[in-house]
């Protein structure tokens, strides 16, 4: 079996490998960890992986940031070509996603404070055993 055929795949698609790795680390933390704070950290890593995925699919070779140069009366105002600027849409979506992820993180931490106030622990199995006793 010829392994060299996989080298271009690895080189041209490594952004997906990075995002999948990060996303699986987050998923693992959310499923397998016992501590609620570690689960929240996993959720944050998961969200970061999605942000990386979106931003990386917006990239274009040889293009610049999506801010038009000479926007107001510059040298070449007439021709704006789409290949010269990277895709702005993933950036827009992720810009709001970052702030919303901070907000959800805040709510998650507030909930864990309430849980700790009531059960005096953040370990999932201890909370479950307390719930069964009631």
């Amino acid at each position: 079996m010829d392994m060299t055929q996989y080298i271009p795949v690895l080189l041209t698609k490594y952004n997906y490998w990075v995002y999948i790795t990060l996303m699986m680390i987050g998923l693992w933390a959310m499923i397998a960890k016992n501590n609620l704070i570690k689960k929240i950290i996993g959720m944050s890593i998961f969200q970061t992986a999605i942000i990386l995925f979106y931003v990386s699919i917006g990239a274009k070779y040889g293009a610049t940031i999506p801010i038009l140069s000479h926007g107001h009366g510059g040298a070449h105002e007439a021709a704006v070509r789409a290949v010269d600027y990277i895709n702005p849409l993933p950036h827009v979506l992720m810009l709001t996603a970052i702030v919303v992820s901070v907000a959800t993180l805040g709510v998650a931490l507030a909930l864990s404070i309430r849980i700790h106030r009531r059960y005096r622990t953040l370990e999932e199995d201890e909370i479950l055993s307390q719930l069964r006793e009631q």
């Binding site: 041209t12 698609k13 999948i20 999506p66 290949v83 950036h91 901070v102």
Partner: protein
């Protein structure tokens, strides 16, 4: 249980990796995501909105309805934190610890004083007090106005450089959180009271929705800023640019206040007196 989760994670990851075979190459200008709607945004933004930063134009104009509800989500998260954590009852047996400002001597009052001492003579400090650090406090005090100025710049200059309401709002909120970290929560509360944060958070969303409703009142679609031209004595294209600015102001206000609101409630477990 851990083995089962590991197997699940590896299975899902393997499926994702198998799916990348059909994904476009990294940086491919002809990838599906870059072919359909985004060329139109890149080519038409300047003539339709006169905003060079395409991200800002798409965020606040083309997808303005989406962003309005993103702001509402941020506001809702702030309200959720408030409702989950805020407690009206005082802490059990709060110690009254004061620092004599002139000498730095720490005193504890065993019973409640008849009259609260003047903060310039005896400053109230947290009962699990951290040592008074002159360098950190003064460096942060000097830095915070510049951070806030930069936050305002990021909001107002979002049309021409990376920035906008969300980013500037977070910077402004972080400056207040820095004050709470370097001084104490009490100082930050004196600078920005609880009612102020709650009101600003709501007013931010109200400004956004209000600009949209004003467009309705002018006889156009919701959030169609070009109809605001006659109100501001500019042409419809420039009115879009100005409409984006007002909306970004609302976003910045809401995001700043919500960040501070969430931090205050988390740091003090809802008592809003001391913490961290």
């Amino acid at each position: 249980m851990k083995l089962l989760s590991l197997a699940l994670v590896i299975l899902v990851g393997g499926l994702f990796i198998a799916a990348t075979a059909d994904f476009p190459h990294w940086g491919d200008p002809a990838s599906p995501a870059s072919r359909h709607v985004s060329p139109r945004y890149i080519e038409k933004t300047m003539e339709e909105t006169s905003v060079p930063n395409i991200v800002t134009a798409v965020l606040a104009d083309y997808r303005g309805y989406d962003t309005m509800f993103e702001t509402a989500v941020v506001f809702t998260a702030g309200v959720a934190c408030f409702l989950l954590l805020r407690r009206r009852d005082p802490r059990p047996e709060p110690k009254r610890v004061y620092r004599h400002v002139a000498t730095g001597v720490i005193v504890e009052m065993k019973q409640e004083p008849a009259k609260e001492p003047s903060p310039s003579v005896f400053a109230r400090i947290d009962d699990d007090w951290v040592p008074h650090d002159l360098i950190i406090m003064n460096v942060c005090r000097l830095l915070i106005p510049f951070i806030q100025l930069f936050g305002l710049y990021v909001i107002a200059h979002g049309h021409h450089s990376p920035g906008g309401g969300f980013q500037g709002g977070v910077i402004l909120g972080a400056s207040i959180i820095l004050l709470a970290l370097s001084w104490d929560l009490r100082t930050a509360m004196n600078r920005m009271a609880e009612t102020a944060t709650g009101l600003m958070s709501a007013v931010g969303v109200f400004i956004y929705a209000g600009v949209g409703a004003l467009c309705l009142a002018m006889g156009a679609n919701f959030l169609d800023y070009s109809s605001l031209g006659p109100l501001m004595f500019v042409d419809p294209i420039h009115a879009r640019s100005l409409g984006i600015f007002f909306v970004e102001l609302g976003v910045g206000l809401a995001v700043m206040a919500t960040m501070v609101l969430i931090y205050k409630n988390l740091a003090s477990e809802g008592h809003l007196d001391q913490g961290l």
